[in-house]
Amino acid sequence: MSSFLDRILGREKSSAQQAKERLKLVIIHDRIDINPGTVDILKDELIDVISRHVEIDPAEVRIEMTQDGRQQRLIADIPLNPAGRRRSRQHA
């Protein structure tokens, strides 16, 4: 009953919602045959490559797998720091 109250008050997701979110991730990784740990490595390498050309804040980078029907996508959201800030940092 307390979990029901928690849910009503928005403190806890329903078990079905949790199952759906967990399944979503598991299914995406199963489909492209990549382990969740490998995605982290991919993320680090991607940050490394992009940083060689433009300045980015690694903490702001979001890389995720999404499902579009039976297709999977790798979505990378990488905010780029403004050129001015970059130059001033380089001069400092």
């Binding site: 849910r7 329903s14 078990s15 079905a16 919602q17 199952a19 759906k20 967990r22 399944l23 979503k24 598991v26 299914i27 199963d30 489909r31 499902q67 029907g69 039976r70």
Partner: protein
């Protein structure tokens, strides 16, 4: 064109492949179609007991493949429904006794003389599954709303696509409307969104299925059972009819969602 050879598979075991095969086959046969169902689960046969035909087995699938009998001799005719036939699996052999090309050859022989051929696939992704899908015109994936069954269904859907037997169709088994309503069970919408294939049936949880299996009388023969009605609807949809999804409870909310699902089902 109506798909004549229908394979029912699931990935995970125990989600209702054999029950679904027996009931869809029976519903099609009651409708006057000549239906042959084949148990492709060699070594773990069960379609015979679910159909109540276990005492009439003389020859089996492997006997046909290895030439010990003619195809006709291995076809057991159901006395209650004269247009329903079963070719049982061998019980003392394993899946390697039959190859996918054996299955294609055997089913080709049946095509000319029957309206529908239903193949009950074994669980798993190995040889038995490949045997079962090799001759299929359409593959039906059955799952229940549990996380492990849905995950395995997704794997099998991918393999069906890779074998160029897709897109598979989905049957959702053992739905408990009250649990779905409390958000303690994945809803049909959730599962369809995750698996992204066309839904052709929702079977509500029904204790009567156990009774019918105990007796060897498929639940579709019980005119009052909701799960029986759900199986009859699947048979009708597979025959090319548009059938609205039945209400699993009286609440408009759930029914509304189910009918929306049906409209957006095709992909």
């Amino acid at each position: 064109m109506i798909d004549q050879v229908i394979t029912i598979t699931s990935g995970k075991g125990g989600v209702g492949k054999t029950t679904a095969t027996a009931n869809i086959a029976t519903a099609l046969a009651v409708d006057g179609k000549k239906v042959v169902c084949i148990d492709a689960d060699i070594g773990l046969r069960n379609l015979d007991v679910v159909l109540g035909l276990e005492n009439r087995i003389v020859y089996d699938l492997v006997d046909v493949v290895e030439g010990r009998c003619r195809l006709r001799q291995a076809m057991i005719r159901d006395k209650r429904i004269p247009t329903l036939y079963l070719i049982p699996a061998a019980q003392t052999r394993d899946k390697t006794a039959v190859s996918p090309s054996d299955m294609v050859r055997l089913i080709d022989e049946l095509r000319t003389d029957s309206d529908y051929i239903l193949i009950d696939s074994p669980a798993g992704i190995e040889r038995g599954f490949r045997n079962a899908i090799a001759p299929a015109d359409i593959v039906v994936v059955i799952t229940n709303p549990e996380i492990s069954a849905v995950r395995d269904a997704d794997r099998i859907i991918g393999l069906i696509e890779a074998e160029e037997k897709g897109p598979a169709r989905l049957v959702l088994n053992r739905i408990k409307p009250d649990m779905v309503k409390r958000e303690d069970m994945l809803s049909p919408d959730d599962v369809v969104e995750l698996l992204a294939i066309e839904l052709i049936g929702i079977i509500p949880e029904d204790e009567k299925v156990i009774l019918s299996t105990n007796r060897g009388i498929p639940i579709v023969l019980d005119g009052k059972s909701k799960s029986g009605q759900a199986f009859r609807n699947i048979a009708s949809r597979l025959s090319g009819n548009e059938v609205p999804f039945i209400s699993l409870e009286d609440s408009n909310g759930f029914f509304g969602r189910i009918s929306r699902l049906m409209r957006s089902g095709g992909n």
